[in-house]
Symmetry: C2
Subunit: 179 residues, 2 copies
């Protein structure tokens, strides 16, 4: 479950750390296509748009083939994705546009984005944006920063950030550096 | 977990019914490519052979794109698949070559097969075989039956059969009709 408080203050993007066996303690899971952050922009746009769940075993059926997939617990922001959902896999969390502590540099993150919501609508929203026209992959940008740069359309709205499970982390919220 | 006794007597193919939220109470999950039983034989051979788990989020990376996937709990026979693992989705369980009860006709099953083990080795083993040269899809056959028919090579050895979750089933083993 996504807990209250697991989000950056004032913004509706939950930052959640995976718990052991959590893909898992949820009664439902979601399979989403994954792009590597280092890939070119076109990859995120080419990932399958429609991924329907089918039948009693919840098979996912995409409208086209894709190589890289990830399973996430049935968190509300993830289950709420209609079509256009995509996961971008970053090798470290410095890509996030808020102050991060040392932890972040040492762990990978997954950014879940909704490609059906490209408009840079909210100043305090977070968006998936291309770096250097897409040649250098992706980054996560604040709506206000994109607007200042005159960017009106992003690659998608960030709906969630997932951090990996860490066995030695008791207090999951306290270790975050809130902006 | 795969329980003792959840297999057809004398044969090492566990028949397991999904429990609610089980993809799920396991600390690990496995993503496997799925073929529909009604498809032609070539589909099962074309499904990606190598599906590696990568990184801290357990992303699956296939050697080629594929449209249909399923998530299973980290059951031993499934985790034990190296390469060549595939799931065939049947709309009902009458395809199984042992005596089944009425339940079976009303529920879909998943057959997990290992395409790297094609040889029809054991009389009491179960194998994925093509129906009518592949034009009519797949069936599950006993090793002895294939040998009698002179078939030495199957599409793969069946390692597991998965039945869907049923809310009103208390005694999961007793309802099976053992051969």
């Amino acid at each position: 479950e996504v807990k209250e408080g697991d989000s950056v203050a004032g913004v509706k993007v939950p930052v959640v750390r995976m718990k052991f066996g959590e893909v898992a303690a949820s009664s439902s899971v979601v399979i989403l296509p994954v792009c590597k952050a280092e890939e070119e922009e076109k990859e995120v746009m080419e990932a399958p748009w429609e991924c329907k769940s089918e039948g009693e075993f919840g098979e996912v059926v995409a409208e086209k083939g894709w190589k890289r997939w990830v399973v996430l617990p049935g968190w509300e922001p993830v289950v709420g994705l209609k079509s256009g959902g995509v996961v971008v896999s970053f090798s470290d969390a410095r890509v996030l546009p808020w102050k991060v502590n040392r932890w972040y540099k040492e762990e990978p993150i997954l950014v879940v984005a909704d490609r059906s919501r490209k408009e840079v609508a909210a100043d305090d929203g977070f968006y998936l944006a291309a770096v250097d026209g897409g040649a250098l992959g992706f980054k996560v940008e604040r709506g206000s920063a994109l607007k200042e740069a005159g960017v009106k359309e992003s690659l998608g709205t960030v709906v969630m950030v997932v951090r990996p499970w860490r066995g030695d982390t008791d207090n999951q919220v306290a270790e975050e550096d809130w902006e």
